[in-house]
């Protein structure tokens, strides 16, 4: 059984490592961040399987910490791309902002 579990972990590792291609190619930074997101949830699954496969109770705590902080990097990325680097992409009036961006020349973005 642990042979099967570690084999599944191997398969998951290879599958999820495929996401690195998107990190290299990804036209936009959001694609790269998504690849990291997929790798983190794949990592959680691998940690769980290896933890059960090796009878390592602690590995589940590691998976818990990774799951808890999975959204963390993406939030930092999203804040970085919004206005003035500290805003929220869902800031009030975001639709109005979006249309403003298309016709506004590439000037200095105003902070919300």
């Amino acid at each position: 059984m642990s042979e099967f579990l570690l084999g599944a972990a191997f398969f998951l590792l290879i599958t999820v490592a495929g996401g690195l291609v998107r990190v290299v190619l990804g036209p936009d930074q959001a694609d790269k961040m998504m690849a990291a997101q997929l790798l983190s949830s794949g990592g959680i699954a691998i940690l769980l399987i290896v933890g059960v496969g090796l009878q390592l109770e602690g590995a589940i705590d590691v998976a818990l910490v990774v799951a808890l902080l999975a959204a963390f990097a993406a939030v930092a990325f999203v804040k970085g791309t919004s206005q003035a680097g500290t805003g929220d992409p869902e800031a009030v009036g975001v639709d109005q902002l979006t249309t403003l961006r298309q016709d506004a020349p590439q000037g200095r973005p105003d902070s919300p």
Binding site: S2, E3, L6, G7, A9, F10, L13, I14, A17, L20, V23, V24, G26, P27, D28, Q29, K32, M33, A35, A36, L39, S40, G43, I46, L47, V50, G53, L54, L56, E57, G58, A59, D61, V62, V65, V66, L68, L69, A71, F72, A73, V75, A76, F77, V78, K79, G80, T81, Q83, G85, T86, G87, D88, E90, A91, V92, V94, Q106, R108, P109
Partner: protein
């Protein structure tokens, strides 16, 4: 020995691929993303090596705090360039490298660098191959007097009892690092709130996450703190998780970062080293030596030390990632 011999080589290969990506990839942002993935894979490697404490720390710091620190640094650099009128868009669109003006060194330097780094790696690989056969280790010594330390987890015993002196110095090093970060504040902004002012849409998804995760993070943090005594966990991992969820609440605009000059903030910073030092000095009358814990009450003393450490580590790491104050104190 291992049920599935292919997993370790594959993991090592993917780790090295991510490492090469983090160095060779074209843009800074992609390098940071690769490094976040590298940190996560390292956590899996530590679990494979059986070092669960280290895996917990690497997961919380490698995949969590370091990634956010570097991402916000890259975002702020892009913001500085935009504020200066260098017309580079803020991290958006088909993604230009925010710093196109950084030329790579000439071919001579690059080839020399390749030779040097290959030599370093080769020497270390040789060192690994030549490790002595009866692998040296202190497992027996640590185990023999574990009962006197009052904790069952050997790593926690080493951290707080056998080598308590190192951990005391380490928490002071963290404090100095924070003083270093704060001392880099522009004079006009001294005393202000560390880091940028964070705003979020009150009923948006980010605010929702900022409200939902911190309680769970607090629960996981206290859990990690408490199991430190007999299972992988402890003050460092707990402090890191608490710092991470606190930062999440700050980024969601729900929690204002207390001012640098705030007294409560400074108390939270100092409580860890202070408690540790006090218990260390109390060792003289109690057990005849600095950091000497009498076996009878060793467990209580260690838990007290860990509690202080958790609070201080959480505060220090959170403020370190938040960065130097950027707003003028109002």
């Amino acid at each position: 020995m291992t049920a599935f011999p292919l997993l370790d080589p594959a993991l090592c290969f993917v780790i090295l691929t991510t490492a090469v990506l983090a160095v060779a990839i074209r843009t800074v942002f992609a390098a940071v993303v690769s490094f976040i993935v590298f940190g996560l894979l390292m956590a899996i490697a530590w679990v494979r090596l059986g070092a669960v404490d280290v895996a917990l720390t690497e997961a919380a710091i490698g995949a969590g705090l370091t990634g956010v620190l570097l991402l916000s640094t890259v975002a702020r650099i892009a913001k500085h360039r935009a504020d200066r009128g260098d017309d580079v868009p803020i991290l958006e669109g088909p993604e230009p490298d925010p710093a196109p003006t950084d030329p790579l060194p000439g071919l001579a330097t690059q080839s020399l660098a390749i030779v040097l780094s290959a030599a370093v790696a080769a020497a270390l690989v040789a060192a690994v191959a030549l490790l002595p056969v009866p692998a040296p280790g202190l497992v027996a010594e640590v185990g023999s007097r574990l009962s006197e330390t009052g904790v069952e987890s050997p790593v926690t015993a080493v951290l707080l009892a056998y080598r308590g002196y190192d951990t005391l110095l380490e928490i002071v090093v963290l404090l100095f690092a924070l003083l270093g970060v704060w001392s880099l504040t522009a004079d006009a902004r001294w005393g202000g709130q560390p880091g940028l002012r964070h705003l979020a849409r009150p009923d948006g998804v980010m605010a929702y996450l900022g409200r939902l995760l911190p309680p769970i993070g607090l629960l996981v943090g206290v859990y990690l703190f408490w199991i430190g005594g007999y299972r992988p966990g402890g003050a460092f991992q707990a402090g890191t998780v608490l710092a991470a969820v606190w930062l999440l609440a700050v980024m969601a605009g729900l929690v204002p970062i207390p001012k640098v000059s705030g007294i409560r903030l400074r108390l939270a910073l100092v409580i860890g080293p202070a408690v540790f030092l006090a218990i260390g000095l109390a060792g003289y009358p109690l057990h005849g030596a600095f950091l000497g814990y009498p076996p009878a009450i060793a467990k209580v003393l260690i838990i007290l030390i860990e509690a202080g450490l958790t609070i201080s580590i959480a505060t220090i790491l959170g403020l370190l990632v938040a960065g130097a104050p950027e707003e003028r104190p109002s």
